[in-house]
């Protein structure tokens, strides 16, 4: 199926574009799609899409990925987080730094 | 075996003029944060947004050593770079006058000249520079990397060629 993807801020340095429509299998998870994009666009893309932070001595990988306008990091919006499967009509956004409604 | 030593390499086109290097240098050497006590200097032209790094180039045949009448400034055997011995220095400022890079300094409080000593092998300026305008490395390896970057941006690579097939 066709999935529209939009890029913001530093992610565009890796993709060299603001948006595109990619071809994915229905039911692929957000995490798998991001991995596919990381393989296509390289390590800089990975660094900005899945942010590695250290806090209180622990390391976290926080996805800077939004599915249908909601950050996949917030469990009440996306309980399955990066394991959420995509379907027709979904929109993926990467590289935003603030939240939405 | 080519004898090599690591030196500081400057790229003023990347310099943002932040002077983190100066703050760190003076702190490390003098326990005080100041501009005049720093071994490295950033010249800022605020109106045009131009910045220039004035730092020691660790010359192979340093002029600052040859003009020192008193033997205070000598090439250190271990480090391979010119080091000023403050105990011998008379403060004549010949090195300050003759260094073509403006990298020899004079401390008005002590009356002695001082210069970059590469911080015991881990220079603060290179570590703290946010843009990589100052790097600490082997000049020949830096040059090889520069050529390789040029090859990537300007040369034609197999991957690109295959795309056209």
């Amino acid at each position: 199926m066709k999935l529209p993807v939009r890029y913001y801020s530093v992610v565009t340095q890796a993709t060299k574009k603001f948006h595109e429509v990619i071809e994915v299998k229905e039911g692929m998870t957000v995490g798998e799609i991001v991995e596919q994009l990381c393989n296509r666009y390289g390590s800089k893309f990975r660094e900005y899409a899945i942010v590695r932070t250290e806090f209180n001595g622990k390391v976290f990988y926080t996805p800077n990925v939004y599915l249908n306008g909601k950050n996949v990091h917030f469990p009440e919006d996306h309980p399955q987080g990066l394991n959420t499967p995509v379907k027709e009509g979904d929109l993926l956004e990467l590289g935003l730094i603030s939240g939405g409604a | 075996m080519v004898p090599r030593k690591k030196v500081l390499i400057y790229d003023s086109s990347k310099c943002t003029g932040c002077r983190s290097c100066m703050a760190g240098c003076s702190l490390q050497h003098e326990g005080e944060c100041s501009k005049i006590l720093s071994r490295i200097h950033i010249v800022r032209k605020e109106e045009s947004g131009d910045n220039y790094i004035s730092g020691c180039n660790h010359c192979e045949n340093p002029i600052c050593v040859s003009v020192c009448h008193f033997g205070a400034n000598k090439i250190d055997r271990e480090k391979g770079i010119a080091i000023i011995d403050a105990n011998v220095c008379t403060g004549c400022k010949e090195c300050v006058t003759y260094c073509p890079f403006g990298a020899a300094n004079f401390n008005p409080r002590t009356g002695k000249a001082f210069k970059c000593d590469l911080c015991d092998g881990d220079p603060v300026c290179a570590r703290w520079c946010p843009s990589g305008a100052i790097t600490y490395g082997y000049p020949d390896i830096t040059l090889k990397k520069k050529r390789r970057d040029l090859q990537i941006t300007q040369g034609k690579m197999l991957v690109e060629a295959l795309k056209e097939v």
Binding site: F55 | K35, I36, E46, E47
Partner: protein
């Protein structure tokens, strides 16, 4: 002495006196420095009966114990005065290198009072201070005056604070700048300098800042600088400066378009950070000792403005004379950069300039103003010719610009416009909102806009980034507030406490005078780290609690200053646009359609945290005494009754 210089420089321009006042340990421990020293002076020395343009007003320049050191980002300066725009407490903050230079010259603060008979500038050459003739540079843009002063003094390595024609002409929102382009934008500090005939202050400092424990101080600084190399929030700022926000703001509906009537526009990418970098950017700039270096430099290469160049702009500088007045949304984005260049060269607050023009445009749109009032100018959204002309008129107080130079609230009164016109000023306490629509940016920001102590509408009083970037630091919101929910911008959960906490934190940060991008926005530097570098620098034993209490004390002092000007609970408002008008949707991926800010749900709880008196909104006596502000509690006694009486009268 470690950290501080321990000395205040006071210049009386009426008498021509130069006085050096020592700052004793008690004072430094209680107020810390920077904004703390400034607000303490303004509170004590500029009583309510003194008008902002009166010679008795002060303009203060404050730096702190950490200024000029190797800690991250230590070049900032707080500039404070009684504001000619709001008639209350005013201050602004600027980056650059002047702050470090002032410290090296041996001063923690400069206080200027009185009025010179002719234009002057102050030359601070370490301990030698002179008041010099400025007739050659009066009328000049900061970039020219900077060059001429450096030539005259024979040294290009000095740093200079300047005002532009806007300040000279006492525009109520004129700004001060250092290093040519670094602006302390808000509240009209430039106008106060202009009213004193003070063109600028040049500084040369050959001293340094002594560090009590150099090895330990170095360890902290090094550790923090390492963190910045991989910090998630640094990347956007490093690559695009604060303009990295344009596309984000557009998507989340907080980009002001046509005076906040809309929150987004399909063509916002015309002036985004990404576009700026690809078309007009020349290199990057960094303030003193900064690991982030978010400064931009713009060179316009094409079109009618080709050849113009300047340092900047920031997001907040681009937006008000850009989309907020409808500019940049068509074909030519260069209009946006040109307008930003104008406000820099004229020395005007870009935010207020765009704010007052967009107010006038909305009045024109709604028929409250006509071409007759504006001297024939058709105030249509996106009309660059008109915006360009108005910015010139404001700077030189000509034509319609002379009225706009008063700020939108005073202008509305001067023109005798109906009450409806006040709604479109988008102000609280007389100062306009920066380019952040709280219906999209977040409810925490919305609350802090209504409560800020430099004239309400200001994002920098709290820089409430726990809701903007908090999710990138897992566990941080839980640590500060108790749960991760507040990381979502459009929930009210935890926001009253978040704003209370961020305001105190930010106030203390402004006393050290380090850049808040290191501690709010990016959370690479936390309060514990700030206390650590403060202690290793000064050799003292501050705790996290004491450090945050300094910020709380400062907030209460500034709030009390407003109270003496009879501004309190009734003025803790947000414009109706944000609380009553639902956000319209203008781009397909906009996420905040229909949003409004539920201010009344957050305000009472915030008052409880602040311990403000629920009837007046003034700081309570109990809290003031707890913070060691007994003299303030005494001052406020008559004003409490007066404020309550005014309220009862209004109700009848």
């Amino acid at each position: 002495m470690y950290g501080w210089a321990g000395q205040r420089l006071r210049v009386d321009l009426t008498k021509g006196d130069i006085i050096k006042e020592p700052l004793d340990y008690e004072y430094r421990r209680k107020w810390l420095g920077g904004r703390g020293f400034n607000s303490e002076v303004i509170y004590r020395e500029v009583p309510p009966e003194v008008d902002a343009f009166d010679p008795e007003n002060r303009v203060c320049f404050g730096v702190g114990p950490i200024s000029g050191t190797a800690a991250p980002s230590t070049g900032r300066v707080t500039v404070s005065c009684k504001s000619p725009l709001t008639d209350g407490h005013g201050d602004a903050n600027m980056g650059g290198h002047w702050g470090a230079e002032l410290k090296y010259a041996g001063y923690d603060q400069i206080v200027v009072q009185g009025r010179a008979k002719k234009p002057v500038y102050i030359w601070v050459d370490d301990d030698k201070v002179e008041i010099r003739d400025a007739s050659r540079i009066w009328g000049k843009y900061p970039r020219e005056a900077d060059r001429i002063i450096k030539e005259e003094l024979g040294d290009e390595d000095i740093h200079i604070v300047l005002i532009g024609p806007g300040g000279e002409n006492m525009v109520r929102f004129a700004c001060t700048l250092n290093d040519v382009y670094r602006a302390a934008g808000r509240t009209g500090t430039g106008g106060v300098m202009g009213s004193k005939n003070l063109k600028g202050i040049a500084v040369r400092g050959t001293g340094g800042v002594k560090i009590a424990k150099p090895k330990e101080f170095y360890e902290v600084c090094n550790r923090l600088r390492e963190k910045f190399k991989t910090d998630p929030m640094r990347a956007g700022l490093w690559n695009y400066g604060s303009l990295c926000l344009i596309n984000v703001a557009n998507r989340d509906g907080w980009l002001p378009v046509n005076n906040f009537q809309f929150g987004a526009h399909p063509n916002a990418n015309n002036f985004s950070g990404e576009t700026h970098k690809a078309t007009v950017s020349k290199g990057k700039e960094g303030c003193f000792a900064c690991p982030i270096c978010c400064g931009q430099f713009t060179v316009i290469k094409e079109g009618k403005w080709a050849g113009e160049y300047f340092g900047g702009p920031e997001y907040e500088h681009t937006v008000p004379t850009g989309p907020r007045v409808g500019i940049g949304l068509g074909d030519d984005a260069n209009d946006v950069w040109h307008n930003a260049r104008l406000t820099n060269d004229f020395g005007l607050d870009g935010i207020e300039t765009g704010g007052v023009i967009s107010w006038a445009m909305e009045c024109y749109q709604r028929g409250l103003l006509t071409a007759k009032d504006t001297g024939g100018l058709e105030l249509e959204w996106g009309n660059e010719e008109v915006v360009d002309k108005l910015i010139h008129q404001i700077a030189y107080r000509q034509g319609f610009g002379n009225i706009l130079a008063e700020g939108s609230c005073k202008a509305a009164k001067k023109l005798g416009l109906p009450k409806e016109a006040e709604k479109y000023t988008i102000t609280t306490r007389g100062m306009t909102l920066p380019g952040d629509d709280p219906r999209g940016l977040g409810f925490g920001y919305g609350l802090s806009f209504s409560m800020g102590t430099r004239g309400g509408e200001d994002h920098l009083r709290s820089l409430c980034c726990l809701e903007l970037s908090g999710f990138l630091y897992p566990g941080l919101n839980t640590k500060v507030i108790g749960c991760e929910d507040p990381a979502k911008p459009t929930t009210t959960v935890g926001k009253p406490y978040m704003v209370y906490y961020e305001e105190n934190q930010k106030a203390s940060t402004d006393c050290l005078n380090v850049c808040c991008f290191t501690t709010h926005w990016s959370y690479a530097v936390l309060t514990e780290d700030q206390v650590e570098y403060l202690n290793t620098c000064t050799g003292l034993d501050f705790t996290v609690e004491e450090f945050q209490e300094i910020g709380e004390r400062l907030t209460n002092l500034e709030r009390a200053y407003w109270a003496r000007h009879l501004s309190g609970k009734r003025e803790d408002t947000l414009p109706d646009r944000f609380t009553k008008e639902p956000m319209p949707k203008t781009v397909p991926y906009q996420t905040n359609e229909g949003a409004t800010v539920p201010l009344d749900r957050m305000l009472p709880t915030y008052y409880v945290y602040r311990d403000y008196d629920p009837e007046t909104g003034f700081p309570s006596e109990r809290k003031l005494k707890q913070l060691g502000l007994d003299y303030v509690a005494k001052d406020l006694k008559p004003y409490r009754e007066k404020y309550k009486a005014m309220g009862r009268k209004a109700e009848r």
